[in-house]
Symmetry: C2
Subunit: 116 residues, 2 copies
Amino acid sequence: MTNQATATASTADAFTALGDRTRLAVFERLAEHPQSVGQLAAVLPVSRPAVSQHLRVLKDAGLVIARPAGTRRIYQLNPEGVAALRDHLDRFWDRALTSFKAAVEQQTRPSQERQP
Amino acid sequence: MTNQATATASTADAFTALGDRTRLAVFERLAEHPQSVGQLAAVLPVSRPAVSQHLRVLKDAGLVIARPAGTRRIYQLNPEGVAALRDHLDRFWDRALTSFKAAVEQQTRPSQERQP
DNA sequence: TGAACTGGTAAGTCCTAACTTACGGTAAGT
DNA sequence: ACTTACCGTAAGTTAGGACTTACCAGTTCA
């Protein structure tokens, strides 16, 4: 199938993508400046195919994009994907902390308890 | 000094903690309202010990805390840990997108290239 | 047209971790 | 005291994914 249509992936996919140490390192390197696969592999302690596979995961998660340049492929961050993930997480934190505050309210106001 | 390394490591730990589907589900359930281990296990498609193990990971990542209530243990979000992760991610996105913009500047202004 | 780069993919190995069952330990109810 | 309910941990199994080597396709330059 076309992985291009999967421009924006789910939050779980983004967490999974950035959850791996090597992949987070790749992402951070690309955050500094766009690079080719060989440049990344030269610095990281894994082989070039491994970097390619990690880049595929990051690309499927919508976090990076590639652009051909001669025989090389320059990878860079996908600002849209990163911004989308950031917005999604912001709403997520807001909901979580709001619900938490509501629970605290209900805690300090013991009108009714004992709900198994 | 070690703030940077520690901060980066904790971010990776948080990503790893929330990268698992089941663990993210646990975290989202707790974001709605505090619950006991048995309540979580009753809804989720895994056994109770599995939920306990996931809660341990989330607790080690500083994302949730537990409070004894009789024979049960009520888990809830750790607002401090969540807020800390949120702040750290905000700085992370800022750095990433700022560097990306700088790279775009350098791209549209091709004073020098050819850096293999 | 070759030779020498580049990088994606296949196939296979290996190790981590997510899951299970079994057990022990604590708190409340009878 | 005995029973019941709830939970954490140990031990063991298994599925997934992170990594390797080998191979193939596309691009550039002689």
